[in-house]
């Protein structure tokens, strides 16, 4: 930067970026500001406990009070149960389960109760809660802190499953999840919170509708479908593929359940070649469901069998080379794209 550049000029030259962490914090703050029925609870969530271990809820308890924003004991069943109960009578609780693997100790509350009470009560009650939880590879946390378990929840009727890969989508999806009259599991990726990404933080009226995928790159040779962190890797792989002369249509699902058939199927019909990528174990994963529906609906239009890349059929390993071997990365996505197009 020239010494002569004015601060304003410097500002203009610097691309505007934002982070998912700031977007989530703003989404919660704006939602609390807008609705006195908003509540939040979870381990270490309030400001005396540092506003969450990542800081997503920083500032909320100071601003909106200890009644509405509460740190909890390490009691996942109690956390989700309290969220459910308050939601039954008109509150809008956002519950944080620190890590996605810890949803396992609250599965009864999530799967048997949150997801089913509307149906089992014949629509007399509903559970408009959001369960925020983080997960993902990258910090060498091993087998019980990094699993992507979205398929378990996507397999349960009555709960929606969402994962954002950009700050703008993180904001818009979280606000929509809060607005939604039914329970939503909101998955955050552990290594993505502080990564600067293009674009500013959205305004308070920004929403991303649930159930609507984003076509992040249009193309004609291959349809590439992903979500969460690997949507970012997929975007990069699609760019690299373009340099090799491949035209890739890249779709970020954003909502995993219910997923957006109206966007995915026409794209698959157009390209006839589909690659689905996720960090979760490939076997019985979300990719299997999408591939099955594409086969059911578009068998004759496909030029190649639908291809999937996913996590290895093993617990998440600790050692760095093993961890890198576990899940798809940019290069493996690129290789699969080239192979599919060939």
């Amino acid at each position: 930067m020239s010494e002569l550049a004015t601060p304003a000029a410097a500002q203009a030259a610097k691309p505007v970026t934002s982070t998912i962490l700031a977007a989530l914090n703003k989404a919660l703050t704006d939602a609390f500001e807008a609705d006195p029925k908003m509540l939040a609870l979870g381990e270490d969530l309030a400001d005396p406990e540092e506003g969450g271990i990542v800081g997503v809820t920083k500032g909320l308890s100071t601003r909106f009070g200890d009644d509405r924003v509460r740190s909890t004991p390490i009691s996942e069943q109690a956390i989700i149960g309290a969220a459910i109960g308050a939601s039954l009578v008109g509150y809008k609780p956002v519950a944080e389960i620190m890590l996605m693997n810890f949803t396992t100790v609250a599965m009864d509350m999530i799967v048997n109760h949150a997801a089913k009470l509307r149906f089992m009560s014949g629509g007399q009650t509903s559970v408009p809660i959001v369960i925020r939880t983080m997960t993902g590879l990258g910090y060498g946390s091993g087998g019980q802190h990094c699993d992507y378990l979205e398929a378990w929840f996507a397999h349960t009727a009555g709960i929606k499953v969402v994962a954002a890969s950009t700050p703008q989508d993180a904001y818009g999806l979280l606000r929509s999840a809060i607005d939604d009259p039914d329970p939503v599991l909101f998955i955050e990726n552990i290594t993505s919170y502080r990564t600067p990404m293009p674009g500013p933080l959205p305004d308070a009226d920004h929403r991303v509708p649930l159930g609507k995928a984003a076509v992040q790159r249009e193309g004609s040779d291959v349809t590439l479908i992903s979500y969460a962190r690997l949507a970012g890797e997929s975007r990069e792989a699609a760019k690299l593929a373009e340099e090799k002369g491949l035209s890739v249509e890249m779709i970020d699902l954003r909502t995993i359940a219910p997923w957006d058939r109206e966007t995915v199927l026409p794209s698959a019909r157009k390209t006839g070649r589909v690659l689905i990528v996720h960090e979760a174990v490939k076997q019985f994963g979300v990719g299997a469901e999408i591939a099955a529906v594409i086969n059911e609906e578009l068998f004759g239009a496909l030029k190649k069998p639908v291809r999937r890349l996913g996590g290895a059929y093993s617990p998440v390993p600790y050692s760095n080379p093993l961890e890198r071997a576990y899940a798809p990365d940019r290069q493996r996505i690129l290789d699969a794209l080239v192979e599919l197009a060939g």
Binding site: S75, G81, V89, N112, M120
Partner: protein
């Protein structure tokens, strides 16, 4: 009629008896209707435990919340669940409280505070905390009651819920109906605590053991807990000691219940015993009670008839109430 010098008064005693008589008659009818083949359902009889909810519900208001369990039809009827909607739901009809989608284990009726009925042991408690939290935030003086059995005091949800309720000083009341058996397993074989009420000590909240078959003692314990919760002084664990006359599920052979134990309990059948006491103490006349009971039978007749004459749900109903919006695929 007094217990520890406490006298709830004639009106409350009759209120408790009216509820108890309804619960007793409804259980007898449910088993009859199942046995006759008119309605096929999995049924968890509460016979013998009627006095507990008949008493604690007399200490509650309509806008107080109840989370109960699969053996909970006595709880919800005592709380005011309408008989016609109940029976239509038991019969799986479209006119049931839950449109036939919930059934006996998931009966729900928010207008009377019956917010959740769970089929999972222990799960009534964490949700009752949330209802209590809502009342606390809204600064109403509503309370939330969770009922459950002795077996449920051994599942994690019990401990997580009591701890959170204590830490947050929630207006929650945990009513353990200790009927001596966790499904088929006798109390001492599955529960380490001498008394379930003792477990309250671990959470720093009041724990009260009471004869759940004694309406005055049960009402007094409930009233004290309700008053404490409404005043903002936090939760209470009530262990209401009772006995389950039937097996775990209607139709099981209940060979695990010692015969002499069962005979003694049946001989001291709490609802008829309470009835006799009302007569002996001059609280009510035979004629008054007989009229009340006849009216209950008539109401049940009408509810069963309504249920059996009601239409079944349509297959297409599966697409509704999964989410607020209908399922398209």
């Amino acid at each position: 009629m007094t217990t520890h010098g406490f006298n709830p008064g004639k009106e409350t005693l009759l209120d408790i008896y009216r509820r108890a008589a309804l619960l007793l008659a409804n259980d007898v009818r449910a088993r009859k209707v199942i046995s006759s083949g008119q309605i096929a359902m999995v049924y968890y009889s509460y016979r013998g435990q009627e006095i507990i909810p008949a008493s604690f519900c007399a200490a509650l208001r309509d806008d107080d919340y109840l989370c109960t369990i699969y053996r909970g039809i006595h709880d919800m009827l005592a709380k005011g669940f309408p008989l016609d909607l109940l029976w239509a739901e038991l019969a799986g009809r479209a006119t049931g409280s839950c449109k036939g989608k919930g059934g006996p284990m998931h009966l729900t009726y928010p207008p009377k505070g019956v917010m959740v009925t769970t089929g999972v042991v222990g799960s009534s408690m964490p949700i009752a905390n949330g209802l209590a939290w809502a009342a606390q935030v809204a600064k109403t003086d509503q309370v939330a009651v969770a009922t459950f059995g002795d077996g449920a005091s051994n599942i994690g949800a019990f401990h997580e819920a009591l701890n959170l309720a204590a830490v947050w000083k929630l207006p929650a009341i945990f009513v353990c109906q200790n009927n001596g058996f966790a499904e088929h397993t006798v109390y001492a074989k599955g529960t380490s605590a001498r008394e379930i009420a003792d477990r309250a000590n671990g959470y720093g909240i009041p724990g009260v053991r009471v004869d759940g078959n004694d309406p005055v003692a049960m009402y007094a314990a409930a009233k004290e807990a309700v008053d404490r919760a409404r005043a903002g002084d936090g939760p209470t664990l009530i262990e209401a000691v009772t006995f389950r006359f039937m097996g775990h599920v209607f139709g099981d052979a209940d060979t695990y219940i010692p015969k002499d134990m069962k005979q003694a309990a049946v001989a001291a059948d709490p609802a008829p015993r309470f009835r006799q006491k009302l007569l002996d103490d001059g609280v009510a006349t035979e004629q008054e009670l007989a009229a009340l009971e006849a009216d209950i039978e008539r109401q049940i007749d009408e509810a069963v008839a309504f249920a059996l004459a009601s239409p079944w749900p349509e297959a297409d109903d599966l697409r509704f109430d999964v989410f607020a919006e209908e399922i398209m695929v």
